[in-house]
Subunit: 214 residues, 4 copies
């Protein structure tokens, strides 16, 4: 048992070592720009070895994104857990949390967001696809619960909470990609933070029930 355990532990370490290398390379060169060979080099392994841990390039990419997805999921859950915050405050906190994820590793986040709607999705193995789906759904579900809570308190307007979560998530993803794109044109400043805050502020105000006007 000890041996099997050690084996497994070593295996996981190798896997992580590859993911770390992949992260560097994908971030620096994008999906098509990154070659298996360059990743292998970065990981100080042979290309063939990568295939012992990942079925193909797409899955390696996807696995990498999974990690980011998990970070996202945890951050979101972290916000939801904060009992001292009202649903409204949680929306504000969510913006902050998501921005922290961006700051933590902008390039990988962008990769994740681009990946979500890319052709590469179709080449994944069913298991991995399922895993991503489950994780995403769970993250979305957590956001939805914030809205649900607000509705239960009669603080928020009655709307489909999942749709609201989609909106919040899309707003975040859209802003990240759009700001990134704008920097493709110009190399101007990055306005993501204030815009994101404003966006979520609008969102917060938009879902809030209002006194007697409407």
């Amino acid at each position: 048992m000890g041996i099997a355990e050690r084996r497994e532990r070593e295996r996981q370490m190798r896997r992580q070592q590859i993911l770390d290398a992949a992260k560097k390379v994908f971030s620096a060169k994008g999906f098509s720009g990154a070659t298996i060979e360059s990743i292998a080099e970065e990981a100080e392994l042979s290309p063939a070895t990568l295939y012992l841990y990942f079925k193909n390039k797409d899955e390696l990419y996807a696995s990498l994104n999974m990690k980011m997805l998990e970070v996202l999921k945890q951050k979101i859950e972290g916000v939801y857990q904060k009992k001292e915050l009202s649903p409204e405050q949680k929306i504000t906190a969510l913006a902050e949390a998501l921005y922290q994820v961006y700051e933590f590793d902008p390039l990988i986040l962008i990769n994740v967001l681009q990946f979500q709607s890319s052709e590469a999705l179709r080449n994944l193995s069913p298991q991995l696809l399922e895993e991503i789906k489950t994780d995403s759904a769970r993250a979305l579900r957590t956001i939805a619960k914030i809205f649900e809570d607000g509705m239960r308190d009669e603080q928020f307007v009655q709307e489909n909470p999942i749709a609201l979560a989609d909106i919040a998530w899309s707003l975040f993803g859209g802003l990240v990609l759009w700001e990134e794109g704008k920097r493709g044109f110009d190399l101007k400043k990055n306005y993501l933070k204030p815009t994101l805050q404003l966006g979520f502020e609008i969102l917060r105000r938009g879902v809030k029930r209002q006194g007697n006007s409407g």
Copy 2:
């Protein structure tokens, strides 16, 4: 003179013929999946001919997107022009207009949105890049004016109108890509329309000044 005119007309037609073919192929296979040869085949021309009209694959792709960008710009301006609508109503109308663009050609729209944040942007000729930039900026500016009008009427909260336009645009782009992505997982129904409407409804409510509460 007649000859020169005819020449020019024919030239434009060829160009369009290529763009039509490219649209089909890019939509079906994505940017990397589409080969120059397949596009040429679709256009019933030789690959070399494509290079008489477009500098390279990236520029062909970009030109295609330009067309969509123009459609977007016009639709947005169409909404802005409607004098009978209040700023608030224009926001609702904007959601509708944008959805029509989506419906008109979902795949190209998705391409445009993906393109905005892709690596391909860097390979474009400065002119084309400038053109795209200008067009995007103008479209955004028009959206911003809707918000400005609302602020001037004291209907809307005072915020940076360009930032609000970025938010509206990102919400739209984010939702389109996210719904597309979800369909990569499941092949379920497409909830874009209602979600988009709800998103803009929230946005509308969010920017609206409120009676006396905050």
Copy 3:
């Protein structure tokens, strides 16, 4: 007749205009590097027009070289004509004359020399090939006559004068190409002139009959 003459004159001018452009471009980029389009551009004509004056790229190149060959031929004949010079002095003068040709247009001369042994020779039209052959033969023949004169005077050893001409010509061509090649390695100085002089000095001494030794 006046009209036909003018036509012909104009035709020759166009031809020359193209040759001038070709010279520039071939010199700058070498044979494979130069494209018909770039030459046409330099000549301010369309690529198609070039084909009205030259059968193909090879023939254009060859015609260009022909011009240089003519210059060479004339220079060589100029040396031969100088009645005041002894055969020995003519050999020295030949080195000088050939070096002047090199100085006049090094790149085209190098092209000519490279062309002499290149694959391109095989694509030429029989007429042009014949023309080149005739011209070369004539130039060689003139050099040979210098040696013949020296032999007749019993100044030079009795050897096949054509072979001696081949040797003189090869020495010149070999040195030009070899010095050019050395400059491909290093960008050092160009030793062509003194080496060429020395080479022909050796040649002169080598063909000279000697007192009583042998």
Copy 4:
């Protein structure tokens, strides 16, 4: 250890196998005429495999030429080593040795000589360029030493021995290319051997100090 050795041996064999194929194809079709695919086919390998052994087409060509350069170098050194020969006799022997190299593989020799002054030189890796340069320089140096020896013995006139070596080498290269070129015109006989012998005979006589005349 045995394994690593075998690996290395096999690797060298593969390399040689490719060089052999390249030699055939380059000789038959010249540099531009030869395609990587045709060479790969001749070597019974895939094109991609060639790139595991040679960085690109230019380097493959250059490596091939390197082999010939080595043969040349050895032949030349072989002549220099012959203690029983006087410097004068070595010049005669050099002509013979160089002709043997020609006979051994005329086409590759022609390639080498053409390569020396070609544009391809510029695309080589610095190492390879250096290697070629070193080898050439060494061969030239050896020729120069023959002349030096003759000068030391007061048999030869005092001239820069390196310049004399350049002259001998250029004479050889020039003659080979010129005779090759002449065969491009006519398919007549090949006069290289006697002309080369005569050329070096003249050279020998030309560098020899003479009794009391000048």
